[in-house]
């Protein structure tokens, strides 16, 4: 089945170029092109099928990507958000990841990497490249964190901790099941428990929470 994609960027030629590139790869289909946040919301609301992945620019007139992402997380939590922005700095990246973006790419990312990111995000729920991972880890214990409640006692079982570790290592559900000799359904159960215990809304949120609170060890 094709991965359905929405593109939001105020530069029409960029949208067109991106669409032509994506559709040159197999299994990717662009169903929405929007020129700003409001237009994007209108298109999604009017569309018969929801996009799986949204490629989102941040600086757009009328409604920017930050505001649009917040609304989409609430209204359409299943849509995976991949930010593509020329603002590649810590405050922007951390903010978008806290909102629930599944990936963050610079505007100069090569198309191969964009396609790879779309596929990984679809498969694993998130895909943070080395730079973004570095920024998340640098941000450990920084005052920017609004979501993570440090007072809260983190009460998760050892099994859940193992699952969390493997999620952060970018394993798919099937891979986690194989590694831990449990069923896919059990893995899903653990993931859901983790989401509710840690107050996260998606896998991307779990990874950020785990990294920022030192719940996992990554080499």
């Amino acid at each position: 089945m094709d991965i359905l994609i929405a593109i939001a960027d105020d530069e029409a030629l960029f949208r067109r170029g991106m669409r032509l590139i994506l559709e040159d790869y197999s299994g990717l289909k662009v169903i929405i092109e929007a020129e700003n946040g409001q237009h994007l919301l209108d298109c999604i609301r009017a569309s018969d099928e929801l996009p799986d992945v949204l490629l989102l620019d941040l600086k757009m007139p009328l409604m920017g990507g930050i505001e649009a992402a917040e609304i989409i997380r609430r209204e359409f939590p299943s849509i995976l958000i991949v930010v593509i922005s020329s603002h590649f700095s810590k405050a922007f990246i951390i903010n978008m990841i806290e909102i629930g973006a599944s990936a963050y790419l610079g505007k100069n990312t090569a198309p191969d990497e964009v396609v790879e990111t779309i596929r990984m995000v679809r498969e694993k729920g998130f895909y943070y490249n080395t730079e973004v991972m570095g920024i998340i880890r640098e941000n450990i214990m920084s005052p920017m964190q609004t979501r993570a409640n440090r007072e809260q006692i983190i009460d998760i079982t050892n099994r859940e901790k193992e699952v969390l570790q493997l999620i952060c290592e970018e394993c798919t559900t099937q891979e986690i099941a194989d590694r831990l000799f449990i069923s896919v359904r059990t893995v899903d159960g653990h993931r859901n428990n983790l989401l509710s215990k840690l107050g996260c809304r998606n896998t991307a949120g779990l990874v950020v929470y785990a990294l920022q609170n030192g719940l996992v060890n990554l080499k």
Binding site: G17, I21, S86, A91, F92, N108, P111
Partner: protein
């Protein structure tokens, strides 16, 4: 005779005093006028920077983004042809560099972080980039929130002040350590305390000669703040800015 002489002397001294007063008033007016001009200049300069940053980002940056995509399409269509590969690689590097340079210049003119996330985040990012040069170690802490600042213009001027001070510490003072504290002692004022351990300088020459210093002076005045400077040759540099907060 004597009386006449006295009258004349008193008259002339009064006239002299009048001329002197007049001259002082003129000087004061001149000074005020100069200051207004400088402040006006600063405002125009900020508007210019904003405009150029926006145009760089929106026009050149986004066109380069489009070019980048078009280039990759061409390269993909031509991927079986091996002889052109080195040329593609060269063009790819050129486009990437041009994109990065455009982004950097536009960010230096006006950091987008300042606009979207405020002074504290912008300063953190700025100091991070200063640290990365390896020339100086920077300590920055604060106990204020973004909402404590009255408006974006104040945040922008404070940012420029810290930028200017930092560039002085690096360029002229050869400082090894910079420390910056932003504190809110009570509800009435925010204090910005800047300090370096560089060469320091003679305050007299700084005040009379440096345009940088006059810009600092004008910026603090424009946001309604007051400042004290403590420095002497070999003694480092210290500046304290007090920004009164009107309670509303």
């Amino acid at each position: 005779m004597i009386a006449l002489a006295l009258v004349m002397i008193s008259y002339s001294s009064r006239a002299q005093r009048r001329i002197l007063t007049q001259r002082m008033e003129n000087q004061a007016a001149e000074l005020r006028h100069q200051q207004e001009l400088l402040q006006r200049n600063l405002l125009v300069q900020e508007e210019e920077r904003q405009r150029i940053a926006a145009q760089l980002h929106d026009d050149i940056g986004s066109k380069l983004g489009v070019l980048h995509l078009a280039f990759h399409r061409l390269r993909r269509a031509d991927r079986t042809e091996k002889s052109t590969e080195p040329m593609y690689e060269e063009i790819n590097t050129l486009i990437s560099n041009a994109l990065e340079t455009t982004r950097r210049i536009s960010h230096e003119l006006l950091p987008p972080t300042l606009e979207d996330f405020g002074l504290l985040e912008a300063l953190s990012e700025f100091f991070e980039s200063v640290r990365k040069t390896g020339a100086v170690s920077v300590h920055f802490d604060h106990n204020v929130a973004r909402s404590d600042f009255p408006n974006p213009a104040t945040e922008l001027h404070l940012f420029r002040i810290v930028q200017e001070l930092t560039s002085n510490s690096l360029k002229y003072a050869s400082a090894h350590n910079i420390s910056v504290h932003l504190t809110k002692a009570d509800d009435n004022a925010i204090q910005l305390h800047y300090r370096d351990d560089g060469n320091g300088f003679d305050q007299e020459t700084m005040i009379s000669k440096g345009l940088g210093f006059r810009n600092l002076q004008n910026r603090t005045k424009m946001i309604g703040a007051e400042f004290q400077v403590r420095t002497a040759p070999g003694q480092g540099f210290e500046m304290n800015i007090t920004l009164p907060l009107s309670r509303s």
